[in-house]
């Protein structure tokens, strides 16, 4: 093969490989971006920090695409998100609620629904923050993301029995904390 033809073939091969990589990256984005974002939120990042962290996760994946085994994309993204979340939570500012939440408008429904959804999300954030990270991770993957125990175990890289044990304990912690909130509310109503 002549040198020129070799160069043409080489360039075409590189182009095909580059396109295949971008196709793979796009599939990863379409299939996993929202999951990664929600995971980062449940790991304690604020909405803005989760935006940045999600972008960071996918940029890391883009850089290391060739190292990611086919079929392991979600695991890679999950592991990267965990590391980034841990790193950011060490540097993160304390996140507290805005006092004027009630005045915010939404095109997603009635304003009071938006406020209550925000309150629910904020309360959930506080409850999850009180849960140990290993329990919280399994709880989020199972109860919010809807994964089965084998899926959770594979993703977190723990035995299925360990995942089940953590979920039981997480549920107990969650239930106890929600019950405590309800008791406080009811006590507040009686005294008002």
């Amino acid at each position: 093969m002549s040198a020129t033809l070799e160069l043409v073939v080489s360039n075409s091969t590189q182009r095909i490989r580059a396109e295949a990589s971008m196709d793979r990256l796009e599939r990863m984005f379409n299939e996993h971006h929202d999951f990664i974002w929600r995971l980062l939120r449940r790991l304690g990042l604020s909405s803005g920090s989760a935006d940045d962290a999600a972008q960071h996760v996918f940029l890391v994946a883009a850089e290391r695409l060739d190292d990611i085994r086919a079929g392991s994309e979600r695991s890679f993204l999950f592991g990267t998100a965990l590391r980034i979340a841990r790193s950011q939570s060490r540097n993160a500012r304390r996140w507290v609620l805005e006092e004027d939440m009630d005045v915010r408008r939404s095109d997603a429904g009635r304003p009071e629904e938006l406020v209550d959804q925000q309150r629910a999300i904020a309360l959930m954030g506080r409850i999850l923050a009180g849960m140990a990270l290993d329990l919280r991770t399994v709880f989020v993957l199972s109860e919010i993301e809807g994964m089965t125990m084998p899926e959770v175990a594979a993703l977190v890289d723990i035995p299925v029995g360990t995942a089940a044990s953590r979920l039981r304990r997480a549920r107990e912690a969650f239930r106890a904390e929600v019950a405590r909130v309800e008791v406080q509310w009811k006590a507040g109503i009686k005294t008002s």
Partner: protein, 242 residues
């Protein structure tokens, strides 16, 4: 072994169900998705939100969803205003742009606020998808996302990486002028590139290498104020402290 044998299901309370549903519905904004797509060099394409997660059989989310009690749970919150303890004030996170535009090295180097980030709901010109159902801040948080850039295509991410790596190598060999020239090329070619933060960090390091420690420190402090959660915080803090 099925999930039901591993972890016996139990009936969640109304409030538990409400809380789980609220976080399950939370989603990134369409602007956020577009921003990440652009950062990756992907075509804007459809940015309609993907389906919400499906509750696993036996999971807490399934039970009351089937019974349709979620509306009642939401009503529970409606009649309990202000009961979530004190509603404290919020520290509003600064909007972070992945590519804060920076002037050429010869000009006075000021890390200007990312203009796009401060505008509410900057038009997403390339998208025809409906607004994300995600609540709150999505529409007001458009940062570097926005109108599709001409010429940003699939090979651009590799080219961006090459320029950033070249600048990094120049800084490593203390070639400040070379680094600044490369970063100037990067900014001109990719004004909203994926590696805006890295470019800013390298520029500040190069200025520091040139001996202008005061200016580098000032810019490092601006960077830290704008990107408090950046992976480059350590490097910037060292320069800012000089």
């Amino acid at each position: 072994m099925s999930d039901l044998k591993l972890v016996p299901p139990h009936e969640p309370t109304e409030l538990e169900q409400c809380l789980l549903e609220a976080v399950a519905k939370e989603a990134p904004s369409a602007a956020q998705r577009l921003r990440v797509r652009q950062a990756l060099g992907l075509p804007s394409g459809s940015i309609a939100p993907p389906p919400a997660p499906v509750a696993a059989p036996g999971g807490m989310l399934t039970k009351l969803a089937a019974a349709g009690l979620a509306a009642g749970a939401l009503a529970l919150l409606l009649v309990l205003p202000g009961r979530l303890g004190k509603a404290p004030s919020r520290v509003v996170e600064p909007s972070v742009s992945a590519a804060a535009p920076m002037p050429a090295p010869s000009a006075p180097l000021l890390l200007e606020p990312p203009v796009v980030a401060e505008k509410a709901a900057a038009p997403v010109a390339a998208s025809k998808a409906p607004a994300s159902p995600s609540v709150k801040k999505g529409a007001a948080r458009v940062t570097s996302g926005g109108a599709e850039q001409p010429g940003v295509g699939r090979g651009d991410l590799s080219e961006q990486l090459r320029l950033i790596e070249s600048a990094r190598a120049a800084v490593a060999t203390r070639n400040a002028d070379g680094a600044l020239a490369t970063l100037s090329t990067y900014r001109q070619r990719f004004p909203r590139g994926a590696f805006g933060q890295e470019a800013s960090v390298l520029q500040i390091q190069a200025i520091d290498l040139q001996g202008d420690h005061a200016r580098a420190a000032a810019q490092a402090r601006t960077f830290l104020a704008r990107h408090p959660n950046s992976p480059h915080v350590g490097v910037m803090q060292r320069i800012a402290g000089r």
